[in-house]
Amino acid sequence: MIAQAGASFVNDLFNNFWVVLVIKAVLVLGFFLVAPLVVGYMEHKVLAHMQARLGPWYAGRFHGWAQLVADGVKFVQKEDVIPEAADRSVFSLAPAVVMIPYIVTVVVIPFSHTIYAENLDIGIFFVLAMSSVSVIGVLMAGWSSANKFSLIGALRAAAQLIAYELPLVLAAAAVVMQNGTLSLIGISESQSHVWNVAWQPIGFLIFLVASLAELTRPPFDMPVADSEIIFGAYTEYTGLKFAFFLLAEYGGIVVLSAVASVLYLGGYLGPPVVASLLPAPIWMAGKIGALSFFVIWLRATYPRLREDQLQRFSWLALVPLALLNVMVVAIVKIAVK
């Protein structure tokens, strides 16, 4: 009797709209706080081994797995220095404006056809819109620091977003045309036979390159080029605020890897024949991990592009190619039908 009442209470609890809402928010936040640390640790280790070093070793005893947790604890204890000349309120708000959009983006990322926070019907559009909010935070940081390096870095970051947002959006639009839906679950499900990358290899490359540039990752890291402008827009930041910028960067890698795997690599679906060997969330996590590894690998491989090369590459190569991709997909799609 009591057990029954208890069971029905638990049932009621999980059917309550508000309870579910809180649980979802906590899980999304938890994912955002853990996954970037895993990618960050992977970056430490992968870069180290690519340069014949060991990387973090002592924290947490086993291969330094707790290095980034230790870093986080240390960041909280660091003095929060706000320069005299800075615009204090904007300076303090900027890290949040950079980081929060990436947290919100996690809402639409599916880990199986039942495991997701929400299946928004404008999924991919929502992701693209949210991911471009961050640059406003970077501009805020650069301007409010009242530092010449920060200002140059912020202006470069904005220029880079302007240039690479278009190829990113156009490549995503071609996927929407291919699959006839904007929902990330819908796009994943319609790749059950053939992944989109088989139809649109050029679109996949455009999307990868453009998302690297959006994240200002090497070789597109001119806005934070440490050999000439210190650390770009983040030069004046210390302690926790600086940590939030780093968290946003790695969170961005996770989010854009996830979106790229949904758009082109079948999302949570495994390769057609062997899909049933592993559960869907494992496939999804594996794909995010593989693409994140690729992003880190590029950092160890390519030198930085110069600013004018960056702009020319986007406007004269990626944008025309992406437009062409859209038209080819449209024509083929109609012709096949």
Binding site: P83, A96, M99, A117, L155, T181, V319
Partner: protein, 127 residues
């Protein structure tokens, strides 16, 4: 017109977005509060000067700087508006058939010619 039920699920799906947004704001707030309680606070005049490679800063931080890409900015706005038109079209063009493709071809063609013109005029240059 949305029916009552579908309108409700529509708003409910965005409730999760709002909840996560609130969770993010809460995270930042709590973390800043923790840092304020834990971290030391000893401001010194030298510590609070603007960083300029260790020497005294020259002039103001908000010095005149050249925004090198305002024409890129214009181009971006044009193409971004195109992207907004492109998504609804991409969702349903298959149903509309070849006419829709031709129309979008003309639209994209005009933009591509515009980009070509801008390039030939030499404005796509980082000055």
């Amino acid at each position: 017109m949305l029916s009552q039920a579908s309108a409700e699920t529509y708003y409910q799906s965005y409730a999760v977005v709002l909840a996560v947004l609130a969770a993010g704001v809460l995270l930042v707030g709590v973390a800043f509060l923790a840092a304020r309680l834990i971290a030391p606070h000893r401001p010194l005049p030298a510590k609070l000067t603007t960083y300029e490679c260790g020497i005294d800063p020259v002039g103001q931080g908000w010095s005149q700087s050249q925004v090198r890409y305002y024409i890129y900015g214009f181009l971006f706005v044009i193409f971004d508006v195109e992207a907004v038109f492109l998504f609804p079209w991409a969702r349903i063009f298959e149903r509309l058939g070849y006419q829709a493709v031709v129309e979008m071809g003309i639209f994209i063609g005009i933009l591509a010619v515009g980009l070509l013109y801008a390039w030939r005029k030499g404005v796509l240059k980082w000055v």
